[in-house]
Subunit: 318 residues, 2 copies
């Protein structure tokens, strides 16, 4: 049982970040409901600031770092949405941000980070090089690390998306199941915690690509496991759980289900074609789960966190 | 001056179709505002039933055909969104629909029409063959033709999107300019009429691809002109004006501006990447106009009708 990320911590996070985020809309789609045999409410964090839910966690952490004067700058390592989230939030509080990014990160992502005024420190594309890069930044600048998911404040921030989903589309208990993708587990653990607090009868299920299936193994064994292989179109989900996120997920998540890349791509295309919204492959993982495991969800009221919409249009999988 | 499509006819159309359509949302985007130097409100008819505004005009016409018992069936010729709109509306009133479609129309569009229970009559891909096909259907079945744009009821239906734009985002006069793409002119003439009635100080501007630039010539000469060449990614706008739509457009549209295909594709990609919504190339034409003719719109409050989001994901232009 995790005691630190209380209901109060999450509702305070929501109050704290509210002035800077969008209250994203909730979409429904008759065709997808028919295909799934369920009633699905999509919480559209693809319309969030920076195009992904990560703005929430980054803001919740960095607003507190700034308010408490915990450091002179912010740092993190990320090649994806968290890099933009930290750059965005640091700009809001007027603190310098140093983002350690692998040399081979897409130029469009580097440009987005620079666009918020953050400084990029390039490193070799290995986890060790990224962590070393961050240590050097901390030593040199006195920056505070805001980890993408192994951080209570970040998890509390990510949990706020599900507060809005419950408030806007389902009073306590009306959702049978809420699904979220799992990479490092920041979104999934935050969602599971807040649903446990506010809607305890609602199940939370994690959704993972077969090509990064560490969380399902860790969930079953109770230890941090390695994925059997790492190769998936859902590039936002390649990370492994931390002890912190695993503990919360073991306590409050009902199951983790996996889908193959062709199922992820088909679900992504279905959402693009029928809902007319851009979702990234990582978000399509949860949609693919609802369609693949149709028998588990038939007749239910389902919530899906659409985590983001940052897609390289030059490299579409269809 | 057109006397038949009165304010009353359009507001009655809105009441008539309201139970069957979505009141589509209005989106804004800071990045695109910054690029345009204007404040833009996007009326998102890509989220409309059948994925395009054409549901409005089709419904307004067919609900009246059914209520007045004007015929035993509905027919039209179209390879695009109007085919789906007629099939959709005919299904609502329980009338048979016969859609004459060119043999080479994409299978996905044929499937969508069949999905609503309509019958497809295939013909050669020429205007003459399409019109002949419709005449044969009428003779054989007693069907009523619902033309895609040369029809007062259809125009009144299309005009209802702009009513919602004005009601939801701009009291009388607050919009400086409203832009809509122009193909046959159903949406543009309807928009121009209702804006003339409800917000007469607001200018309406038509937006046309260079590769189907008949409307701009007809607008200037007063006669139906041919496009200098027909080749554009905005395949929904290949049609020419009719005398009916030209007359309304000459009376109530301020100007028609053209953009090249590379500008249309860039605008489409910009909207996909930054707004995270799927818009079809025809809709991107209006976005491209605002960006290309920036000097004409700087500092203004702008409305853009995003006409649809039906895109073949297998044939993207980027």
């Amino acid at each position: 049982m995790n005691n630190k990320i209380t209901l109060n911590a999450i509702t305070q996070a929501h109050e704290r970040i509210r002035p800077y985020i969008h209250r994203t809309p909730i979409f429904t789609n008759q065709t997808i409901n028919d295909l799934a045999g369920a009633s699905i409410f999509f919480k559209c964090e693809n319309f969030q600031k920076i195009g992904a839910f990560k703005a929430r966690g980054g803001l919740n952490a960095i607003l507190q770092v700034a308010a408490n004067k915990e450091g002179k700058a912010i740092t993190t390592h990320s090649s994806g949405n968290h890099a933009q989230a930290v750059a965005f939030a640091a700009a809001i509080v007027g603190m310098p941000a140093y983002i350690v990014m692998p040399r081979n990160a897409p130029q469009v992502k580097k440009d987005a980070v620079k666009g918020y005024g953050a400084e990029i420190i390039e490193c070799e594309p290995t986890l060790a090089a990224r962590e070393n890069g961050v240590l050097e930044v901390i030593e040199r600048t006195g920056a505070v690390l805001v980890h993408p998911f192994d951080n209570d404040r970040v998890i509390a921030g990510q949990a706020t998306a599900a507060i809005e989903l419950l408030e806007d589309a389902g009073y306590n208990g009306s959702f049978n199941t809420i699904l979220a993708p799992v990479g490092g587990g920041g979104m999934l653990s935050g969602t599971a915690l807040i649903v446990h607090y506010l809607s305890p009868k609602t199940r939370v299920i994690g959704c993972e690509p077969e090509g990064a299936a560490d969380a399902v193994l860790s969930f079953k064994s109770g230890n941090i496991e390695k994925a059997p292989f790492l190769k998936t179109v859902a590039d936002g989900l390649l990370t492994s759980l931390s002890e912190r996120t695993l503990a919360i997920i073991r306590d409050h998540v009902s199951d983790i289900l996996t889908v193959a890349d062709d199922e992820i791509i088909a679900a992504m295309r279905l959402v693009w074609e029928r809902m007319k919204i851009i979702i990234e492959p990582s978000s399509a993982v949860a949609v693919a789960v609802v369609l693949k495991y149709r028998h588990l969800f038939a007749g239910q009221k389902i919530g899906i966190i659409i985590t983001g919409g940052n897609v390289d249009m030059g490299k579409l999988p269809f």
